[in-house]
C-alpha cells in the first residue's frame, strides 16, 4: 500500500513536471532513442561475437593459444573501459565536415551519438558474454555433441544455459549508455531539442546554477534506468527459476 502511494505521488510529481517543462519529454524520448538503439545494435553485434570468442576451440600450440587468448581478452577488457570522451572525440573528428566521413553529414546528429555509444557498448556486451559463456558447465556442450548435435547446435545449447549472463550483458551495456555524457556531448554537439539528452541537460543546468532542475532531470534518468532494469531483472529471475 505504501509502495502504491509512493508510486502515485512520484507519478504525479513527474506529470506536473512534464506539464511545466514539455521540452523535457522530448529530451527524455531522445535519450531513450539514442541509448536504446545503441544497446540494441550493440547486443546484436556483441553477443554473437562474445559467444564465438568464448566458445571457440583454439587450435595450435598451447602456449601460442594462451598468448593469443590473453592478448585478445586484455584488449576487450581494456575496451570495456574506453573513456567516453575519447570515443566521442574520435567520432566527432571522423564525422566532421573536414573529416574522412564528413560527406555523410552526420556530425552533431542523434546518429553520431548512437555511433559513439555503440562503440562504447559493443566491447561491454562482448566481454560480459565471454564471461557468461565461460561460466557454463563444459559438460553441457560435450553432452550435446555426444548426442549428435552439430557444433552450432551445441553452441546454442550453451547460450541457452548462459541466458542470465547474456541479460546481464544487456543491463550493463544499457547502464553505461544511458549514463554517458562526455562522448555524446562532443559528437552530438548538445543542440537544444536536437541532440540534447537528460545527461547533457544536467550538465547545462548545473552550469547556469539551476541545481533543482538538474536534480529533477537526474531523478528522471534514475527512474528510467530503474524501470528498464526492473523488466530485465524480472526476465533474469524467471530464467534463473527455469
Amino acid at each position: 500500500m505504501t509502495m502504491y502511494v509512493f508510486l502515485e505521488s512520484l507519478f504525479n510529481a513527474l506529470r506536473l513536471f512534464f506539464l511545466v517543462n514539455p521540452d523535457v519529454l522530448d529530451i527524455t524520448l531522445l535519450t531513450l532513442r539514442v541509448s536504446g538503439t545503441a544497446v540494441l545494435l550493440g547486443s546484436i553485434a556483441g553477443i554473437p561475437t562474445g559467444a564465438y570468442l568464448g566458445l571457440r576451440e583454439w587450435r595450435g600450440k598451447k602456449t601460442t593459444i594462451r598468448i593469443v587468448n590473453l592478448i585478445l581478452r586484455s584488449i576487450i577488457n581494456t575496451f570495456m573501459g574506453l573513456p567516453p570522451v575519447v570515443v566521442g572525440l574520435v567520432v566527432f573528428l571522423l564525422l566532421r565536415y573536414e573529416g574522412p566521413l564528413g560527406f555523410l553529414g552526420l556530425v552533431f546528429t542523434p546518429t553520431a551519438m548512437i555511433i559513439t555509444q555503440l562503440i562504447l557498448v559493443i566491447p561491454i556486451t562482448i566481454g560480459v558474454t565471454i564471461s557468461a559463456v565461460g561460466g557454463v558447465d563444459k559438460a553441457i556442450r560435450e553432452k550435446a555433441l555426444s548426442l549428435g548435435a552439430t557444433n552450432r547446435e551445441a553452441a546454442f545449447a550453451v547460450l541457452k544455459e548462459a541466458k542470465i549472463g547474456l541479460l546481464t550483458a544487456v543491463i550493463v551495456a544499457f547502464g553505461a549508455a544511458i549514463s554517458e555524457v562526455g562522448g555524446i556531448m562532443i559528437a552530438g554537439g548538445n543542440i537544444w531539442l536536437k541532440t540534447s539528452t537528460l545527461t547533457t541537460e544536467i550538465v547545462d543546468a548545473v552550469q547556469v546554477g539551476e541545481y533543482e532542475l538538474a536534480l529533477t532531470l537526474g531523478v528522471i534518468l534514475l527512474a528510467i534506468a530503474f524501470a528498464i532494469n526492473i523488466i530485465l531483472t524480472i526476465l533474469q529471475i524467471r530464467e534463473a527459476k527455469h
Partner: protein, 308 residues
C-alpha cells in the same frame, strides 16, 4: 536449426533497414532548411538565444541549431565547415578568423560587461575600484603574501582571454606553476564561481553568469566594475561562402539582418534577468562600435542593410 537461421536473417534485415532509414532520414533532415549557429556559452546560458531564436525561426521558417561552446571551439567548429555563422566575443581570435579567409562580414551586435567578484572580506582591498588593472595588481600583491587566491577559467574562453590580457598589461603571464595563489580551473564560468564561493577566491566573470548564480553564492560580492577594459563586445561573422559553398549562406545573412535590425536590437535591450539588462545593443551605435573595436561597422551595416 534452419528456422532459427531464418529468424536471425529477419533480425539482421530489420536492423539493416532500421539503420539505413535512420541514416537516410538524418541526411534528408540535414538538407532541410537549417541554420547552424556556433556560439559561446554565455549567449545560450543567459537565455538570450532561447528568447530571440523562436521569433526568427517562426518568421523565416528556418530551424536554428545552436552549438554553445567556448569562443575558441566555436570558431574551430566554423573553421572546420560545420557551422554557418558564429556569434562570439574575442577580438583577436575573430580577426584571425577573418584575416585567414574563414569568415567574412564581421559586425558588432551587442556588448555586455565583465565584473570582478570576490569575498566581502576583500583582503586585496579592491572594492569600489573602476580600474581592473589596478585591482589585478592588488590581487597579485595580496596573493604573494598568501592572503588571497585568484581562480582563472584557463579554458581559452573569451572571458579567460580578457583576463590574460589584463594580467599582460601588468607584464604578467600567471600560471598554476608560477604562483600558488593563481588557480587554473580549466572549467566553465559557473564552476569557477562555485569554486570561488567555497574557497573565498577572486575571479573575473561576465555579469550574466554572475546574475544567474548570485543566489547560490552567499560568500561573494561584486567588487570592481565599469572599467572600459571590462566591456565585452559580441560580433557575428559569416563563414566565407567561397570557402564553404555547402553552408547555408543565405539564411545566415537573413539571421544577421534580423539581429542588427532596429527590432532585433530592441529585443536584445529588452531581455532582462533579475530586472537587469544583460546585453546592450551595439550594431547601430556606430561611434561606440568603433570604440569597442569594430572599425568597419558603418560599411558592414550598409552591406547587410542593402543585402536582400
Amino acid at each position: 536449426m534452419r528456422r532459427l537461421s531464418k529468424t536471425q536473417l529477419v533480425i539482421v534485415l530489420l536492423v539493416f533497414v532500421f539503420v539505413t532509414v535512420a541514416i537516410v532520414g538524418e541526411y534528408f533532415l540535414s538538407r532541410s532548411r537549417r541554420l547552424v549557429l556556433s556560439t559561446t556559452t554565455s549567449t545560450w546560458d543567459s537565455g538570450l538565444l532561447g528568447y530571440l531564436l523562436p521569433i526568427y525561426e517562426q518568421r523565416y521558417d528556418v530551424k536554428v541549431d545552436v552549438l554553445h561552446v567556448g569562443t575558441g571551439q566555436a570558431l574551430q567548429i566554423a573553421q572546420g565547415g560545420d557551422a554557418d555563422l558564429v556569434l562570439v566575443h574575442s577580438k583577436e581570435l575573430e580577426l584571425n578568423f577573418t584575416s585567414q579567409g574563414y569568415g567574412v562580414h564581421r559586425i558588432g551586435v551587442m556588448y555586455n560587461d565583465f565584473i570582478i567578484i570576490g569575498p566581502p572580506s576583500d583582503l586585496a582591498g579592491i572594492r569600489g575600484l573602476t580600474n581592473a588593472t589596478e585591482a589585478f595588481r592588488r590581487i597579485k600583491t595580496a596573493g604573494d603574501l598568501g592572503n588571497v587566491i585568484f581562480v582563472s577559467r584557463a579554458d581559452k574562453s573569451g572571458t579567460n582571454l580578457l583576463e590574460l590580457k589584463i594580467w599582460s598589461l601588468l607584464g604578467l603571464t600567471p600560471k598554476n606553476t608560477t604562483y600558488s595563489w593563481y588557480w587554473e580551473a580549466k572549467t566553465g564560468m559557473g564552476n569557477v564561481l562555485r569554486i570561488c564561493n567555497e574557497k573565498l577566491g577572486y575571479a573575473l566573470t561576465d555579469r550574466a553568469t554572475w546574475l544567474s548564480f548570485k543566489n547560490e553564492l552567499p560568500n561573494l560580492k561584486v567588487l570592481v566594475q565599469n572599467d572600459s577594459v571590462l566591456f565585452n563586445p559580441y560580433s557575428v561573422i559569416l563563414v566565407n561562402p567561397d570557402r564553404y559553398p555547402h553552408r547555408n549562406h543565405q539564411d545566415a545573412v537573413k539571421f544577421v539582418k534580423f539581429l542588427i535590425s532596429v527590432e532585433g536590437q530592441t529585443l536584445i535591450q529588452d531581455f532582462k534577468k533579475e530586472g537587469e539588462t544583460l546585453f546592450y545593443p551595439l550594431a547601430r551605435d556606430v561611434p561606440k562600435a568603433v570604440e569597442l573595436g569594430f572599425e568597419n561597422q558603418q560599411e558592414e551595416l550598409v552591406w547587410y542593410d542593402s543585402h536582400t
